[in-house]
């Protein structure tokens, strides 16, 4: 069997305790230079894309803005559009919510980014729907949880209709004949449960036709949405066994939609730490992880699970004896603490008791450690094993330092992957779809005639 080719993406880290902001090498989270630097590193490493997350309400803890982690970020499409000016091949992926937006606007902004980057745009469709976030928007928390994916699916479907309302070549720009565009270009009408809209779409078709679609939900509905209509899944399943199970589950859902396994790429979110020896890497990883879990951060984690103010407790002392209040959600705007918190508290108590751990030691123990830890060669081998054994198609690397946190990955690990023949030496195409090996989007045909049976997507590159 030929070796699978690995895909790589870089996330600019924001609003989590992954970023060790106390490290003197940790620079601005908002200055454009930080974004440009990390993007340049990713492009130097021939990464597939650069990824930005989104949060439409600052996280709160105990009724106040959460103040322990990095916070504050630019609007993702705006900064990605600026990055399009200082990169040439790197894909540019924006997280944009489908609840507190409307298809007409999101579709035109993504089509714009696709034009301005010459075919490098991607959209991570996320579905936060909570009333807490809704307080920042006209409609408030209008959507039921059960409808977050029915709206997302119809939203994406509608966006695709808008992108298809302009065909390749609709801009004629024929000065002599005086024909600027095809008559009727941009005409659309959509009537559905969530959207009833019609008229003329304003932004002509972008170079990719449709941007690459990413999905990052984990629920069964989220997985189904991805299987039906996404090109990439951004997952939290960054451990080998767990990753394989997730991979199998999601790829198994594709056939139902007439899609092949290679039509949906799976990218777990991962981190790494390098050392000259395994021992050195492990020690360094432990230091970083301890820095990520400051005493205050440890208390915040325990309070979030216990659902109560525990400020009287010592992070270097034992877990509280008092019972958790699992129904009291004191950490808001954070999907991390949505699980069964009573069970989590029980499990944490057992671990702490068995191993004699303090609160802080316990939180270090139970929060995710770095995914890949070792020498550059060991990390390259492990990355390759993940992909060749179907735990992933690629990875989104989240560095713990902004913006220099991927330098050694690009300098020391990427060349080894290239040596193995599992990662590109250079970009072979120009669009993000090219990098990901995705089929071009089929262009709508003149007169909207249904395609003849059995016909496959054209292989020609589309431009408008």
């Amino acid at each position: 069997m030929p070796l699978k080719q690995i895909h790589l993406a870089a996330q600019f880290p924001s609003v989590s305790n992954i970023t060790v902001w106390s490290d003197p090498r940790s620079e601005s989270q908002i200055d454009f230079g930080s974004f440009a630097k990390l993007a340049a590193t990713a492009e130097r490493g021939r990464f597939d894309f650069f990824f930005l997350s989104e949060g439409l309400r600052l996280r709160e803890h105990n009724g106040r803005v959460h103040d322990l982690d990095v916070v504050g970020r630019p609007e993702s499409l705006t900064v990605l559009s600026a990055l399009a000016a200082v990169t040439t091949r790197l894909g540019l992926a924006a997280t944009v919510n489908s609840t507190f937006n409307e298809p007409y606007e999101v579709a035109r902004r993504l089509a714009t980014l696709d034009h301005l980057s010459e075919g490098r745009a991607a959209w991570n469709v996320v579905t936060s729907y909570d009333a807490f976030t809704g307080e920042n928007f006209r409609r408030g928390g209008f959507l039921d949880e059960a409808d977050r994916y029915t709206r997302a699916a119809e939203f994406l479907h509608t966006a695709r209709e808008l992108w298809d309302s302009w065909r390749p070549g609709d801009i004629r720009a024929a000065a002599d004949s005086g024909e600027f565009l095809r008559s009727g270009a941009g005409t659309f009408a959509h009537r559905g449960r969530h959207f009833d809209i019609s008229g003329r779409f304003v932004t002509p078709r972008g170079p990719q036709g449709h941007p690459v679609i990413i999905q990052a939900g984990d629920s069964p509905e989220g997985r189904e949405f991805a299987a039906a209509d996404a090109d990439v899944i951004f997952s939290r399943h960054g451990k080998l066994e767990d990753g394989r199970a997730f991979y199998k589950d999601v790829k198994g859902r594709l056939a139902r939609y007439g899609r092949r396994p290679e039509d949906l790429k799976i990218f777990p979110s991962v981190s790494y730490v390098l050392g000259d020896t395994r021992k050195e890497a492990v020690e360094h990883a432990a230091e970083i992880h301890r820095a990520q879990v400051s005493p205050q951060n440890a208390m915040m984690h325990v309070e979030a699970v216990w659902g109560r103010d525990l400020s009287a407790y010592d992070p270097d002392g034992p877990l509280p004896e008092i019972a958790p209040e699992p129904d009291n959600l004191i950490s808001k705007g954070n999907t991390q603490f949505r699980g069964d918190r009573a069970a989590t508290a029980r499990r944490w108590r057992e671990i702490a008791r068995a191993r004699g751990l303090s609160i802080r030691e316990l939180v270090v123990e139970v929060t995710a450690p770095q995914t890949f830890v070792g020498t550059p060669r060991q990390v390259a081998d492990e990355i390759n094993e993940f992909v060749q054994t179907d735990a992933a198609d690629g990875f989104v690397f989240v560095p713990h330092l902004t913006p220099g946190g991927l330098d050694d990955l690009v300098d020391r690990v990427v060349p080894l992957l290239q040596e193995k023949g599992v990662f590109r030496e250079d970009y072979t195409g120009t669009t993000l779809r090219d990098h990901l090996g995705l089929n071009p989007v089929r262009a709508p045909r003149p007169d909207d005639a249904p395609p003849p049976a059995g016909e496959t997507a054209p292989r020609t590159k589309e431009t408008s």
């Binding site: 902001w21 106040r64 600026a82 000016a85 409307e102």
Partner: protein
């Protein structure tokens, strides 16, 4: 002599509907970054204060309300905020002022979009909020209905009262949107980020503020997800033609674009603008006033008028505009600008009739003419857009203590 400020309004192939058919036009490139980069670089070489980018949530149309089905004019455009952001790293001094809609677009998204443009351009962002009265745009969202305005009804005045009410309503909502956006820009104090290792705190949350706006149309809690932009408050501009929009500008804008047709008309309009400032009890710096002009410029006398006439022929109609249309030489335009300026204007926003021709004529013809009369800068004197216009960086409305 105080120098005047010059801005250029960029839109498609220029403001003449047939501009895309001019000899040096690049009609196939209107959606490419390279086209816009060339234009904005040229404007920056001319040391202009800023460029504006038009936008709308619907296709361009020659009719007032419904989309037309003309195929002989430019149709289709890019999102103006993203376009401005794409150009930010390619320029270093010129201001970038995109238009956004405020009738449909969420104020929360606008606030972080413009703040992000200000971060990406290191203090050169502006914003032109714009309402939409088109029923066709409403149908693109399906969330409110705006009645179709029939041109005959508008002409014979049967709908005057209704239209007046609609405008007041939409401008009222727009004023709320501007207020929310401005509050969100201030919702992070400049020194909110503390990185205090001893207490484990990245931010001082006492310096992050809920904006708690409650209006007739929406309420927004805040704070913004984006830290305070470098300028504190990016430059807010408004195009205005009548009392209601003058008051809208006086309430929330830093700069107003007006459309006089003579020097006397300029004086009349400026008096109305100053009256609007009084009506809304504007505090602080008065509005900076810019007059809009559509310009066709050529060095040889009569040539610009001929060029415009040729474009009119191609379009099958005389160019119509809300702004005065000027054809002539750079020297003649310089005379006109200085004459009108004496009625009290701070500057002009020129709308090039055809691109790149009339932009290049501004930067290489008009600008040297003005400089010869000591009426335009010889170098950029500030590195933020507010700075270029002589506007201070405003204090944060939420900062309570005066201690630095």
């Amino acid at each position: 002599m105080t120098r005047l400020h010059l801005a250029v309004a960029l839109d498609g192939a220029g403001w003449h509907p047939a501009a895309w058919r001019a000899r040096d036009a690049r009609p196939a490139d209107l959606l490419s970054a390279a086209y816009w980069a060339d234009l904005v670089s040229e404007a920056e070489r001319g040391l202009l204060d800023f460029v504006t980018f038009e936008d709308a949530l619907g296709l361009q149309s020659a009719s007032i309300d419904a989309p037309d089905d003309r195929t002989d004019q430019v149709r289709g455009r890019l999102d103006a905020v993203l376009l401005a952001a794409r150009l930010a790293p390619l320029t270093s001094r010129i201001g970038l002022v995109p238009t956004t809609n405020v009738t449909y677009t969420e104020p929360f998204h606008i606030a972080s979009g413009i703040a992000s443009l200000d971060h990406a351009s290191r203090g050169r962002a502006g914003w032109r909020p714009q309402i939409s009265v088109r029923a066709a745009d409403a149908a693109h969202f399906g969330r409110r209905t705006i009645p179709v305005l029939n041109l005959d009804d508008v002409r014979d005045g049967r709908t005057t009262e209704f239209i007046g009410g609609l405008f007041r309503e939409l401008f009222g909502e727009a004023a709320d949107a501007v207020e929310v956006v401005r509050r969100l820009w201030d919702s992070w104090e400049d020194d909110a980020e503390i990185r205090d290792v001893a207490t484990g705190r990245f931010v001082d949350r006492d310096k992050l503020h809920y904006v708690d706006f409650e209006g007739r149309h929406f309420s927004v809690r805040g704070p913004s997800m984006t830290p305070r932009p470098p300028q504190g408050q990016p430059l807010v501009t408004a195009l205005a033609h009548a009392t209601v929009p003058y008051e809208f500008a006086a309430r929330g804008a830093d700069v107003v674009f007006v459309t006089p047709h003579s020097r006397a008309g300029t004086a009349t309009i400026l008096a109305e603008v100053r009256a609007a400032e009084t009506t809304v009890r504007r505090e602080g710096t008065p509005l900076r006033t810019f007059a809009d002009l559509v310009v066709f410029l050529d060095d040889a006398p009569g040539e610009a008028a001929e060029r415009k006439a040729r474009l009119d022929d191609l379009d099958g109609a005389l160019l119509a505009s809300d702004a005065e249309i000027f054809t002539g030489t750079p020297g003649e335009l310089a005379d006109l600008l200085l004459d009108w300026r004496d009625a009290g204007l701070d500057g002009f926003r020129l709308r090039p009739g055809a691109l790149p021709h009339d932009l290049t004529a501004i930067t290489t013809g008009l600008v040297p003419e003005l400089r010869r009369r000591d009426a335009f800068r010889t170098g950029y004197e500030a590195d933020t857009l507010r700075g270029l216009l002589g506007l201070p960086r405003p204090a944060n409305r939420y900062t309570t203590s005066a201690t630095p």
